[in-house]
């Protein structure tokens, strides 16, 4: 459907190499994985958990659990990013559960009504974060067009007016951009992650 531009081949190669070294336990690669995926993992915690502190703890626990369980990671069954996000999701789920238990206990003790604000599920957050990450990887022009549609709610005709690009180019950027985001969601999204990788349980 869409052809993958050249730099992505390099990216995929580099990420495969990192994944392979990670599995083998090359110590220097943990920092590389952290630099590459730390932001992604952290975003999940920041979106799911109540405090910055909880999010940092979850990020730390995710990388420690991943490193200790690195032998269970199978590069043939999914990307390292997807596997790490699977662990991050479980970290968030477990922490939320513990926080809720505590909250319920407090409420029972103090006879307060339970308050559960509308929160996205950690699965949904992982999906969003993955799509957002891919959005950043589109070419500048493609990203600008797609962002105008998503975040500014412009129609393709309005986007053509704002950017000065021909209508056909705008439509093609929208189609290819959207298809690419979908592919990434299918590869690294939460549903896929839970099927494809056996992430170690957090301690």
């Amino acid at each position: 459907m869409s052809t993958v531009p050249e730099p992505d081949d390099e990216r995929i190669r580099a990420e495969r190499a990192i994944a392979e070294r990670f599995r083998r336990g090359d110590e220097t690669v943990l920092r590389e994985a952290y630099d590459r995926y730390g932001g992604l993992v952290h975003r999940v915690g920041m979106a799911c958990l109540p405090s910055h502190h909880d999010a940092e703890d979850a990020t730390q626990a995710t990388f420690v659990a991943a490193w200790r369980g690195r032998e269970t990671y199978d590069p043939d069954r999914g990307t390292l990013a997807g596997w790490l996000l699977g662990i991050a999701r479980r970290q968030a789920v477990d922490r939320l559960r513990a926080l809720r238990r505590q909250q319920e206990l407090d409420q029972a003790v103090m006879h307060l009504a339970a308050v559960h604000p509308e929160e996205p599920s950690p699965e949904r957050v992982v999906d969003r974060v993955v799509v957002l990450d891919e959005l950043r990887r589109l070419t500048d022009e493609q990203r600008r067009v797609v962002e105008l549609a998503f975040f500014d709610d412009l129609t393709h005709v309005q986007i053509a007016g704002v950017t000065g690009l021909p209508l056909g180019t705008v439509k093609s950027h929208l189609r290819r951009g959207l298809a690419r985001l979908r592919t990434r969601w299918e590869v690294d999204g939460a549903a896929r992650g839970s099927r494809s990788a056996v992430a170690p349980r957090p301690r």
Binding site: M1, E10, R11, A14, E15, A17, I18, R21, E27, T28, L30, R31, E32, Y34, D35, R36, G38, G39, V41, H42, R43, M46, A47, A55, E56, T59, Q60, F63, V64, W67, R68, P120, R124, V125, D127, R128, V129, V131, L132, L135, V146, A149, F150, F151, D153, T155, H156, K171, S172, L174, R175, L178, A179, L181, R182, W185
Partner: protein
């Protein structure tokens, strides 16, 4: 029956209405054709996710302290940046510029990692990018897990690794959880009884890479100790240790 044009399907998924009055034809087709409907629904779902994701756009990356804690917890002796950054390089970076954490380094590092990742396998080039690393990588001779000394600041932890490089042994320290203070932290080796040798000062990021005297017998001086020191002109140990651990091979 003709399937919906892919461009049009994407526009529909983004919430645009179909032009030229053929909306009923398209919606009729989508009702009947599972393939087009599946395509439409998955694209629409993707667009929804992207729109929701806008709120996660400006999340700051995790702080450098998170990395220190990870490195300490899994027992990796030091940060393994592929390019020498001044913040880890007080003893090896050529330029004396001090970089504020969270300014440029945040951008430099991912780019540097990408570059280095692209060079995996090209050992020579990679070696040139890491001037402080000899080929082959220095062997770890001994290591110690540093734990908080009773009565010291709680929650502090660290790791000490002795590496045998071509220029002699080097003691690498990574610590976390040390409170900021007026004075500074000094690294010592100790014979466990009475003699202590001052090795150097812990950097602001709670890491240090300190050359050891090649004649120093680490089987005697096997305890790594980090003390809290004041600017009082007194060169002896302050008697206030914060972290300590015994080197094992």
């Amino acid at each position: 029956m003709q399937h919906v044009d892919p461009d049009q399907l994407s526009l529909l998924a983004l919430g645009e209405s179909v032009d030229h009055g053929d909306g009923s034809v398209v919606s009729g087709h989508l009702r009947q054709c599972g393939r087009c409907r599946g395509e439409f629904e998955s694209l629409q779902h993707t667009a929804d996710l992207a729109r929701e994701a806008v709120q996660h756009r400006d999340v700051p990356p995790p702080s450098e302290a998170v990395w220190s804690r990870i490195a300490t917890e899994v027992g990796i002796g030091r940060p393994a940046d592929p390019v020498p950054l001044p913040r880890f390089g007080q003893h090896r970076a050529p330029e004396p510029a001090v970089r504020r954490p969270g300014s440029r380094s945040r951008w430099v590092r991912p780019v540097a990692t990408l570059v280095a990742a692209a060079l995996i396998g090209v050992t020579g080039t990679l070696g040139a990018l890491r001037p402080w690393r000899s080929e082959p990588a220095p062997a770890t001779a001994s290591a110690a897990t540093l734990t908080a000394v009773t009565g010291g600041p709680g929650g502090a932890s660290g790791r000490a690794v002795v590496e045998r490089g071509p220029d002699g042994p080097v003691l690498r320290i990574t610590a976390a959880g040390l409170p900021l203070q007026q004075g500074y932290y000094e690294v010592w080796v100790y014979d466990g009884k009475r003699a202590m040798v001052a090795i150097g000062v812990l950097g602001a990021d709670s890491t240090a890479s300190l050359p050891l005297p090649p004649t120093l017998d680490l089987r005697t001086y096997h305890v790594v100790d980090i003390s809290q020191e004041q600017y009082d002109g007194d060169q002896t140990h302050s008697q206030t240790s914060v972290l300590r651990g015994s080197l094992t091979e």
